[in-house]
């Protein structure tokens, strides 16, 4: 669990506010990759309440849900769309299958992009995802 800052960057505040109103799953991380927010729709897909997932470092959230590609091979953090957004600071899109904390496998499609408050001021990344062959 990382230390909570005095205040999050305004862009992250607005991203969280946006996510909280969105019916589509949203996962928000800070510049270190730490999970700082995910919304109710994401809780459903991940099978875990945010209150249990707040502050998870990237090493944890990128493995705890066992992301796998179409052939069943594990997908490392740097190849996950949100990992690309964090490490390469580029947008990315992909499909993976995860194993939710509720024990359910879900195939999800993910779009991620890095967040810059100002030019070259990387402050985090956001992933928007939805479940294929299931409820959004």
């Amino acid at each position: 669990m990382t230390e909570i800052p005095t205040q999050y960057n305004l862009v992250l505040i607005l991203a969280r506010r946006f996510a909280a109103r969105l019916a589509t799953a949203v996962f928000l991380v800070d510049a270190n990759g730490t999970a700082i927010y995910y919304n109710e729709a994401a809780e459903h897909v991940l099978g875990r309440r945010f209150i249990q997932g707040h502050g998870m470092p990237s090493e944890e959230w990128s493995t705890v849900f066992h992301p796998r590609d179409e052939q069943g091979n594990p997908v490392p953090l740097e190849d996950l769309p949100i990992g690309v957004a964090i490490h390469r600071r580029e947008p990315a899109h992909g499909i993976v299958t995860i194993h939710g904390a509720d024990g359910v496998d879900r195939r999800i499609e993910i779009t991620s992009f890095p967040l810059f408050a100002h030019t070259d001021d990387f402050i985090g990344a956001i992933a928007i995802f939805w479940q294929l062959n299931g409820d959004h």
């Binding site: 005095t6 999050y8 960057n9 506010r17 909280a20 810059f116 408050a117 100002h118 030019t119």
Partner: protein, 281 residues
């Protein structure tokens, strides 16, 4: 440090009999640091009389901190006496933009056809500084800027000297980023890092809740928002600022009374920013 109000009106200057008590000039606050350095918060029309005073005094080195570039915070710069003095050294700080430099954006207003002279032609020695999520020092004071919720790039400023803190958040609509200012975690609230435990917070309080209903997204606070924000930030004193140009002195006093009631503090901790008033911090 000592703060003096030269303009506390929002949106547009509003001279007249109904506003003579608190003044009609737009945003401008002079801050004197312990070593005599002069910091100016925003360049509204209050900058005209401030400039005259500084010319009489012979002040040479000035630090202008712009919260944003809306006209009511910028229009005084062209009529500011030191701008036209080759002896003046003017450091201008303001929020950065990803598309144009600070001087380019100021020159959008400070150039023909909106103004007769281009910013690049003024005699003063002007240096521009981006104030994003920044910290720097002036004299013995530590300054901090941070983006706040208002349309377009906008920052609040925190000035700390000898353990005393002045926070300046003039145009602010924190409720747009919050579920409930009364209960939201402070770290998820716009402006909190600037205002936290300030000895004096100068903060937007433009609207009544009834007025706000038709002005959501304009970038300003109501009595309820301001009281909740002051409570969350645990400030000592609150100075209500950016008065609506249509509010008379009597209406402003009614607004102040409502904030005092909502905040639940003695009257002396919550005042209306009035032109000419001075505050020791």
């Amino acid at each position: 440090m000592r703060a003096r109000i030269w303009g506390s009106r929002g949106s547009i200057a509003s001279p007249g009999a109904g506003t003579v008590g608190y003044g009609g000039n737009t945003s401008c606050v002079e801050v004197r640091l312990a070593n005599g350095e002069i910091v100016i918060l925003d360049a509204g029309t209050g900058m005209l009389p401030l400039g005259a005073e500084l010319r009489r005094e012979g002040a040479k080195r000035l630090h202008l901190l712009l919260s944003h570039l809306h006209v009511d915070h910028l229009e005084g710069l062209g009529m500011f006496a030191p701008t036209w003095s080759p002896d003046a050294e003017l450091h201008i700080w303001g929020p950065p933009s990803p598309v144009a430099s600070l001087d380019e954006r100021i020159a959008t207003y400070f150039s023909p056809p909106l103004f007769p002279v281009h910013l690049s032609e003024v005699p003063a020695r002007v240096t521009f500084h981006d104030a994003a999520e920044s910290e720097w020092t002036i004299g013995g004071a530590r300054l901090m800027s941070s983006a706040i919720l208002h349309p377009g790039p906008t920052v609040g400023y925190r000035l700390e000297e000898d353990g005393r803190v002045l926070a300046y958040i003039t145009d602010h609509e924190p409720v747009l980023g919050a579920d409930d200012l009364a209960t939201d975690p402070p770290e998820w609230t716009s402006g909190y890092a600037i205002a936290r435990r300030a000895d004096l917070l100068i903060h937007d309080c433009q609207y009544t809740p009834e007025e706000y209903e038709t002005r959501v997204g304009f970038g300003h606070s109501t009595t309820e928002h301001t009281a909740a924000f002051a409570t969350m930030a645990e400030v000592d004193r609150l100075l209500l600022f950016h008065h609506d140009p249509m509010h008379t002195d009597a209406e402003l006093e009614s607004i102040r009374d409502e904030v005092v009631r909502l905040w639940g503090v003695p009257e002396e901790r919550c005042q209306l920013a009035a032109e000419g008033a001075t505050y020791e911090v």
